[in-house]
């Protein structure tokens, strides 16, 4: 008999599980070699706690009530639960703190698109190590993890979430116009962006975010932080980086460097992350932080796509 499971969920059977395990074990070896301690947190959290982190990220797809009527949510990523853990369980621990995880996160799906509701993420959080040194360490670990996972044709898109807001400051774009401009940028609509910024007569507003490539795309005053970061990257990491001055990640808590992992075999990013220097403060421990997560199933799909 055939019994249904919810759309966007799936069963993993031994052939696939063996390959997924090989990937996660290889990544686990990298994490542990780099001193990242593995943690697990509950898939269910109180909504009121996660909302502290980021209203958008904490807009969970799945809410339920416990036996006392309190609202529980399924976590939509691991970064906010970890911010809670650090504030609660490590209130005085001497930074930097290094954590890693292999955990499922839950997202809503659009109908008929075959998107997963449940994603296995492998990631790290490096807490109390400010940028650019902390960011460089996170990128080094990311590259080691991708190599260990057996992927070959991958690149890292590297941008800065604070770049465009600082550009708006330099040009003197009034506060009231910014939400629409940022909307065009986040929705990747350069036709809309051109329309919104035309009246400010500053070509940088349209051209800067479209610059992608090697370190030669750096140079504008807003790219100084990325240049500092670039100077700290070992050659094998720097060689994988594509600077992308328009990169914007959809989660609202990023404050500095942001990055995504691409593979030519896959049409969508395999993972990503960035700096969130304000997030832990919202949970009561003011520490700069940086982290990333790889989508293990996409990583696996990219490996298969590479013919490996």
């Amino acid at each position: 008999m055939i019994h249904r499971i919810p759309s966007g969920t799936r069963d993993v059977l031994p052939d696939e599980m063996r390959e997924l395990r090989a990937i996660t074990e290889a990544i686990r070896g990298v994490f542990s070699g780099r001193g990242y301690g593995e943690v697990a947190t509950p898939a269910l959290e109180y909504e009121g706690v996660l909302v502290r982190g980021d209203a958008a990220a904490a807009d969970p797809a799945y809410r339920l009530f416990d036996e006392r009527g309190q609202v529980l949510v399924l976590r939509s990523d691991m970064t906010i639960p970890l911010a809670r853990v650090i504030a609660t369980r490590y209130p005085t621990a001497e930074p930097p703190l290094r954590f890693c995880y292999f955990a499922h996160a839950y997202r809503s799906v659009q109908p008929q698109r075959g998107q997963p509701r449940e994603m296995l993420q492998a990631g790290i959080e490096l807490v109390g190590a400010p940028g650019p040194e902390g960011t460089a360490e996170a990128l080094v670990v990311l590259c080691e993890a991708l190599v260990a996972a057996g992927l070959q044709n991958w690149r890292i898109g590297l941008g800065d979430a604070s770049l465009y807001p600082r550009l708006l400051d330099r040009i003197g774009v009034p506060e009231g116009a910014r939400a629409q401009i940022l909307h065009e940028l986040v929705t990747r609509d350069y036709v809309g962006l051109a329309r919104e910024v035309e009246r400010f007569g500053a070509p940088d507003l349209l051209e800067l975010p479209q610059r992608r490539g090697g370190p030669e795309v750096l140079g504008a005053p807003e790219t100084a932080q990325l240049a500092d970061l670039h100077a700290l990257l070992p050659a094998d990491v720097a060689g994988r980086v594509i600077f992308d001055l328009g990169l914007s990640r959809s989660l609202g808590y990023y404050t500095g460097a942001v990055f995504e992992v691409y593979d030519a075999a896959l049409g969508a990013p395999i993972g990503g992350g960035g700096r969130y220097d304000d997030l832990l403060g919202r949970f009561g421990r003011e520490l700069p932080a940086c982290g990333w997560a790889l989508d293990v199933e996409r990583l696996h799909a990219a490996r298969v796509g590479e013919g490996r």
């Binding site: 898109g157 896959l266 049409g267 969508a268």
Partner: protein, 211 residues
């Protein structure tokens, strides 16, 4: 650089095809086989793949094509597609309009007396957003073809549809009551190709901009 620099482009069949092929000719792509064969879909050597305009964002988002050309109407109906919208190509101008049968506005009457109007469209999200934005209750009826038929048979009180010249609307006794948005052809890109093939994509964009 000439040609497409190894990029694959999703080409819309239908009303945008002629202007799209002319543009590709100016870029140095080989469009002769596309022009000569309206059944074949994939032209691998030329880097071209042809499809319905509404399928273009699907192929580009998945990375089955690096670039694509389609109408703004299609992109507006599918804002969830993660693609870069790089250029307004200017051709294929048309308008998304709200139209009803000529004479007394039946949709307005339905709204006044029934509190809700029924509207047929191939663009349910654009239509729903438009009526929500303008504070009117509308029941959206999605149809797949010949939207003009729906109000003539009493299925709905009005339609939301795309029109270039308005001829089809006029011939079916419909009049435009409101204009919702203007649309032209857009150049779109896959988000991963946009980084990994940045130089080739920027070159194509620069050459289109330069005429």
């Amino acid at each position: 650089m000439t040609g497409l620099g190894g990029l694959t482009i999703a080409v819309p069949r239908g009303a945008l095809l002629g202007d799209t092929l002319d543009l590709l000719d100016r870029l140095g792509a080989d469009t002769r086989e596309v022009r000569g064969n309206d059944r074949k879909l994939l032209f691998r050597d030329a880097g071209l793949v042809t499809m319905r305009p509404s399928d273009v964002p699907t192929y580009v988002e998945a990375g089955a094509a690096d670039l694509g050309i389609t109408g703004k109407d299609v992109l507006a109906e599918h804002p969830e597609r993660a693609v870069y919208e790089l250029l307004d190509l200017g051709f294929g101008p048309c308008r998304m309009v709200f139209a009803t049968v000529a004479g007394e506005d039946r949709a307005a009457e339905a709204l006044r007396r029934l509190g809700v109007m029924r509207v047929a469209t191939k663009y349910p999200r654009i239509a729903a957003a438009f009526f929500e934005r303008t504070g009117r209750q509308a029941e959206i009826v999605e149809v797949k073809g010949s939207v003009e038929l729906a109000p003539l048979t009493g299925l709905v009180h009005g339609i939301v549809d795309l029109t270039a010249t308005g001829t089809t609307l006029r011939e079916n006794g419909l009049v435009i009551r409101e204009e919702i948005a203007a649309s032209t052809a857009r150049l779109i890109a896959n988000p991963v190709a946009h980084k990994l093939k940045a130089a080739a994509i920027d070159d194509v964009v620069a050459r289109i901009r330069g005429g």
